[in-house]
Amino acid sequence: MVKYFCNNTDIRSTWDYVVSAFWQRYPNPFSTHVLTEDVVYREVTSNNRLLSRRLLTKTNRLPRWADRFFPSGISRCVYIIEDSIVNPVDRKLTTYTWNLNHTTLMSVEERCVFQDSTDEPDTTLLKREAWISSGIFGFSRPIQEFGLSRYKSNQVKAMKGLEYALSNLRGISLAVAGDTAPWLLSDTVKDASGKAKEAAKNLASAAAPPKTQQFI
């Protein structure tokens, strides 16, 4: 059984900024659970669309009751693929994200479409859809509920991360003149996020089972 989730959000930035920030949002203070981010494929098609694939690895924070599905030898890392198409003519960014491993426990697939808002100027509409399912017989309902709840909490973090990247892009472009590159986040900004992530990693490597989280 698959749980479907859909919502629309307005992002108070132009589509160009949003798409530029999309590539620059890691690391950020809200993404300490994201361990690595790599582009593993990229192509500009003959009709000038940009296809990209990113591979992400994330920590897998689970409630205690799920520990039984993870004998100590199993990797706690989740591998995630994010495929995307940027269409600069139609001004549309479509992304599709899903986890490669731990799919028996839970499969989370997400599709995002970023387009100019038709209602508000200088605003981008984000339509998100998610499909969450679990293959564990007898446990799929609580697992799906947990998955949906974690997905929503990750959604909040992801939006905060994108907003963070956007506000830095805007701040820099307002402050500078001349030859400086407004589209690049400054390294000091990213450095602070990097330190936060380093602390999270050290905690993750030191801990035994992960702490129980609240899922309401």
Binding site: V19, T57, K197
Partner: protein
């Protein structure tokens, strides 16, 4: 669990040795993306060399870590979903 990452790293990549190559490529790409691609400029890609170097490093790390990304179809799972 031991995460074998360089503790001084800011940019984290699946291949620890690829950090600098990733940074160089990302910088090149972000500039090209905003200044050329989004403006419809179809000129030559200035990042192909740095991309090649970065990919060579990252793909090696992916193989070493046995990450099952090979042969995964682009936007594969999207095919069975209704249009947005």
């Amino acid at each position: 669990m031991f995460y074998p990452y360089n503790t001084l790293q800011i940019w984290d990549t699946v291949g620890e040795a690829c950090t600098e190559l990733k940074r160089e490529y990302d910088q090149c790409f972000n500039r090209w993306f905003a200044e050329k691609f989004l403006k419809g400029d179809r000129g030559e890609d200035p990042c192909s060399e740095t991309f090649r170097k970065y990919q060579s490093c990252v793909q090696k790390a992916i193989k070493e870590k046995d990450i099952p990304v090979d042969g995964v179809e682009f936007m594969g799972p999207n095919k069975d979903k209704p249009e947005s």
